[in-house]
Amino acid sequence: MEVAFGRIGSVLVKILEIIKLLPNKKKGCYAMEKEQYKIFCSSGGCAAKLGPKILGKLLHQIPKVEDDNLLIGFDHSDDAAVYRLTDDIAMVQTLDFFPPMVEDPYLFGQIAATNALSDIYAMGGQVKTALNIVCFPENMDTNILGQILLGGSKKVQEAGGVLVGGHSISDKEIKYGLSVTGIVHPDKIYANHTVKTGDMLLLTKPLGVGIVTTANRLGEASKEAMDMAVKSMTTLNKYVAEILQKYTVHGCTDVTGFGFLGHLKEMLGEEHSATIYSSQVPYIKESYHYAEEFFLTGAGQRNRNHVSDCVEFKNIPFPMEEILFDPQTSGGLLISMSKEDITNAYEEIKLLGLPCGIVGEITEKKEKSIYVI
């Protein structure tokens, strides 16, 4: 039996750092909007993602196939794959699905679809077709599934895409999402890792969605906080993407399960660092207080374990750190563009109505990848 002491005994015992990714048995539910159909929420949206650490390790073992038309594959942990069909058209493919994080099936369908569609926008593409991915318990009321699919189809329609089919299997718990295909001009792809020194960073949705839905599951979230989280999770990144068409985007990704800092680190690669102005980071304001109350997910801690070595916080209060590590479900776009473009883009995007902000800048590679000031 090993005994590790905190502050009092650090002289005596070294805590051995053994980080393991254990499967989380998740229980509990979130509050709901409508009474008629409720779904059991076994885990929280993108918080149900496998950790980046284990994933990176596995992907390295898979042999790469060379194909000149494969413009973006999984070597840069990008949001979607891009394959060139002709000189003018490349196909963008992505899929995303997860267990419910809200009890209302219609709302869950919308959130899952918004999240899946987002990857197309993060690549600079337009949505064309979508296929449903469904896991549903055999003996559950199929009206619930109907509501989920309806919510999903509404978002595909809003995205300007066509729902063309799907696949469903019987499973213990509900999971839903989409496989989405879009198109993009091969010269206008927004890769995530092509940022430039001197760029500024724009974040288009507030952080803290994971913390708020966790607080809500414990009955501790205010209606205002949850309303903001739901509004954010069901807002398509389409409208931001349309504005971006007018500007030159150097790098773009959507902020989801790995949290703001996790996705930012993927953008920076080995060649760049970033300075983040914490005072400019948009977040759901209640999430600060909920983080102080420790309504924190396991996934947030896994994100912290994964990137905290690359991050230096300069006098950042604990709740803000947690917000920056918080896994987001259907989060906003994080965009890297020149100083000249970003101010104009920001003014336009602000008018869409969600909290957003110019949150930092790209610098040359320094000792750490990310400095939060």
Partner: protein, 211 residues
């Protein structure tokens, strides 16, 4: 106060601990039992934020106890004593019962040396028997990998190891290894341990013997 938070999803272990901190008197320790490392990290994160001292005990990788301590005076005294005694004993000195304090014997295989397997097994058997005849005994014997076969049913060294244990030698076997060789139910001597303990014992040892 004890809280069994095994099987609870984050942040419930933290929320339960917070409730207990509010309801319990300051001098009472709060023990939170959890089944995963992430929950441990979330609890210790809370403790650091609340400036509460803590202790983490891990029995194995699915079994942790985080103890939250608000009144630290007794621990400070205890630790000072321990630190002093560690500084004093730099040499490996036999105790009255013949145990060499800080001497750890590491058995990583059921065979001794490279070469013929049967010979290797005989040599290991002889080596462990020889231990029982020595004047000075190791404080701990750690068995891992195929070494685990020596503390379990079917081993020729069980009698020798039991004798050593009676003389005060601590005998531990790696739990993961027992599990791997499906020997967990067949352990005959000593206790099961984990990699934390093995690493710590080896790091703190003044002398390591590896046959």
């Amino acid at each position: 106060m004890k809280i069994n938070a095994r099987g609870m999803q984050c942040p419930l272990p933290v929320i339960e601990a917070k409730k207990a901190l509010k309801s319990c008197p300051k001098e009472e320790e709060i023990e939170v039992m959890v089944d995963n490392e992430i929950a441990v990290q979330n609890l210790t994160k809370m403790a650091v934020q609340m400036q509460i001292d803590y202790r983490v005990v891990s029995l194995n990788e699915h079994d942790f106890t985080v103890t939250l301590i608000r009144d630290v005076t007794p621990y400070l005294e205890e630790n000072e004593e321990k630190l002093q005694s560690i500084q004093e004993e730099k040499e490996v000195q036999p105790l009255a019962n013949g145990i060499l304090k800080g001497c750890v014997l590491v058995v990583s295989s059921d065979k001794m040396g490279d070469g013929d397997k049967e010979l290797g097994k005989q040599l290991m058997k002889g080596f462990l028997y020889a231990q029982t005849q020595l004047d000075h005994l190791p404080e701990t014997i750690i068995f891992y990998n195929s070494g685990a076969k020596l503390t379990t049913e079917g081993s020729d060294s069980l009698e020798d190891l039991k004798q050593l244990q009676e003389k005060g030698v601590e005998i531990v076997t790696c739990g993961l290894c027992l599990n791997y060789y499906q020997l967990t139910e067949k352990l005959q001597v000593g206790t099961i341990t984990n990699m934390y303990v093995i690493s710590e014992k080896m790091a703190m040892a003044k002398k390591i013997i590896k046959p």
